[in-house]
Amino acid sequence: MIHLLWLIPTLPFLGALILVLAGSSLTRRTAAGIGCSVIGLAALITLLIGYEILTTHTSAYSDIAWHWFTVADLSVGFSFRLDALSLVFLFVITFVGFFIHVYSVGFMHDDEGSTRFFAYLNLFVCSMLILVLADNLALMYLGWEGVGLCSYLLIGFWYEEAKNGYAARKAFIMTRVGDTALAIGLFMLFGVFRTLDIQEILTKAPQLWSTGSQTATVIAFLLLGGAVGKSAQLPLQTWLPDAMAGPSPVSALIHAATMVTAGVYLIARMHGIYELAPLAQQWVGIIGAVTLLIAGCSALTQSDLKRILAYSTISQIGYMFLALGIGAWSAAVFHFMIHAFFKALLFLAAGTVIWSLHHEHDIFKMGGLRKRMPVVYWTFLIGAGSLAAIPLITAGFYSKDQILWLAWASARGGLWFFIAALLGAFITAVYTFRMVFVTFFGEEKTHAAHLPGKLMNIPLTVLAILSLIGGFIELPHTFGHVTWMSDLLLPVLPTTVLHEGAESSEIMIQIIAAVVTLGGVSLAYWLYIVKPSLADEVKSACFDIYRLWYAGWRFDALYNTLFVRPFVWLSAINKRDVIDQFYTGLASATEYFGQTFSRTQTGVLRWYIMGITVGAVIILTLSLLLNP
């Protein structure tokens, strides 16, 4: 079964190819059917391969599907490698991707461009699968840029509106900043190792570099730059809230579950380099900690349902970066998986709400949807509970609790990381339940026009179940003690080094985390259900901070002043293009001389004869003078 690995990325690619080439002659139903079934098949193959790997305890499987190119002694192939890390990503991409595809059939039912939509979505899944399966960095970069392209195409999917196009371009350009750093990092890696094979690099790196080596640190920082751009972390996070201009299934698949976590995958995949560059690894953690806090604060103030979720995504990826930074590799991957479940669920549920209310995004114009849309309400509640990490019953608790505890207990962690994570957990609980209470409780403000059908409800239900039980594959030491996830990842990712005597504090940390989360939920309950007027008072009392957070800490304004305006100013100066002046000058000089000399063509025959005569006389005179 495992030799069918190459089919997993190929199937979505074929789907995209068919939809692009024959899309116009297919009915929308057929197109949606093709789009879904290729992902469904890929998911099925993933399931079979995963079963085989888990039962036979294969640690890794490599397969060269095809030769790509050869330059001098560098040979790059479409070589795939399946190990535990890529298996987890493979599962999430194909399964969550499949459910989102099914949901999209309902969501995009009335849209003119749904064939184009499924073509892009299939291409995205293909690129993402190539990214996580790639055995060499060049192929991974192909997938990396492929998902960037699809993200651009899908954010700007409704291109009739100019602002969607701007959002798409912003996302493309911002991530490109990171990708440039990543590309330079890859060049440097090639320069040092003369190969782009990931396993070879990871094996050779410890032999070549000592811990803290300067080259290793520079490369680790450059790779981090790429990860920061793709995963919308500080300082390149501003594109993600705007990326919500795309359709909701896109936000769920690309901007929550899969693509934005590519940065996490990259760092986890290249963990060997980061182990050798403690400074860079520490910065991964610092960036994660700061990002999770500032994005959480922004989420507190947003009124657009999808923007809240967007900031929440940035914040949760901040948790994953924090986990990577403290060496809690498997905790980061675990949180990635659980986050993919509940955030895809939240985005799909939010999409349903927005879809039912005629594209109304403002949560303060919603309200009272609890009774009208029970399925959406319950699934959204489960997703929200998982995001806020409600203790014991939700999957989010187990994944986030692990990060919280390791932030305290890991040898590379520390008090500050722990405080940031704890504060982040509190903020998460507040904004999540603010969103739930305002949207689904209270009185009905907008009437839900059309209710979602089965195609949209089933994916919601499945993802809700996953968001509840997904956490039980990894239970903490204090109760249960299940370690399936970390056991699975053990051959790929190193275990976290704890500092001495940390084990005893685990139960304390869990209790603190639970209390903080429940405190956040009750605060939201108090502010938005019991005393709604209080929320407005708080808002007007700290209006300046509110506005700052609402504008995402004004990073957009800062970048506008620092980069966009000087660039626009320079372009305005150079509007006439300095280099081009030379060529324009050449052309106008030619034209000038042409016009001048054309005056000598009088059309009078005798002038021409005169000219010939004078010329002949001059030539004769000269030849007589020069050759006596």
């Binding site: 063509q601 009088t602 059309g603 009078v604 025959l605 005798r606 004869i609 005169m610 005569t613």
Partner: protein, 102 residues
């Protein structure tokens, strides 16, 4: 037979050539311009004859026959053009045919 000095022949040819040239330049009637061109051709022919006689070679006379042949062709084409010009412009003034100015 005493041959005339070659210099006389050449001076005569030169004079004829310059006269022809001047008359081409100052005449506006196309027929007179054509006649002047004939004079210039014959001046050139005379120069060949004189030179051929000076060196005792037949080449000069061969060239002259060529020139006569060419002049005949030239006159026939020239006259046809003159007829056309007259047909189109109703005048023989060469300055009137200046439609091709740049």
């Amino acid at each position: 037979m005493e041959t005339a000095a070659v210099e006389y022949g050449l001076v005569l040819a030169g004079t004829l050539f310059v006269l022809g040239l001047i008359s081409v330049l100052i005449r506006r009637n196309i027929i007179f311009m054509l006649i002047s061109v004939e004079i210039m051709l014959n001046a050139a022919g005379l120069a060949f004859i004189a030179a051929g006689a000076r060196w005792g070679q037949a080449d000069g006379q061969v060239m002259f026959i060529f020139i006569i042949t060419m002049a005949a062709a030239e006159v026939s084409v020239g006259l046809a053009l003159i007829l056309q010009i007259y047909h189109q412009l109703k005048t023989l003034d060469s300055d009137a045919a200046d439609k091709m100015k740049g």
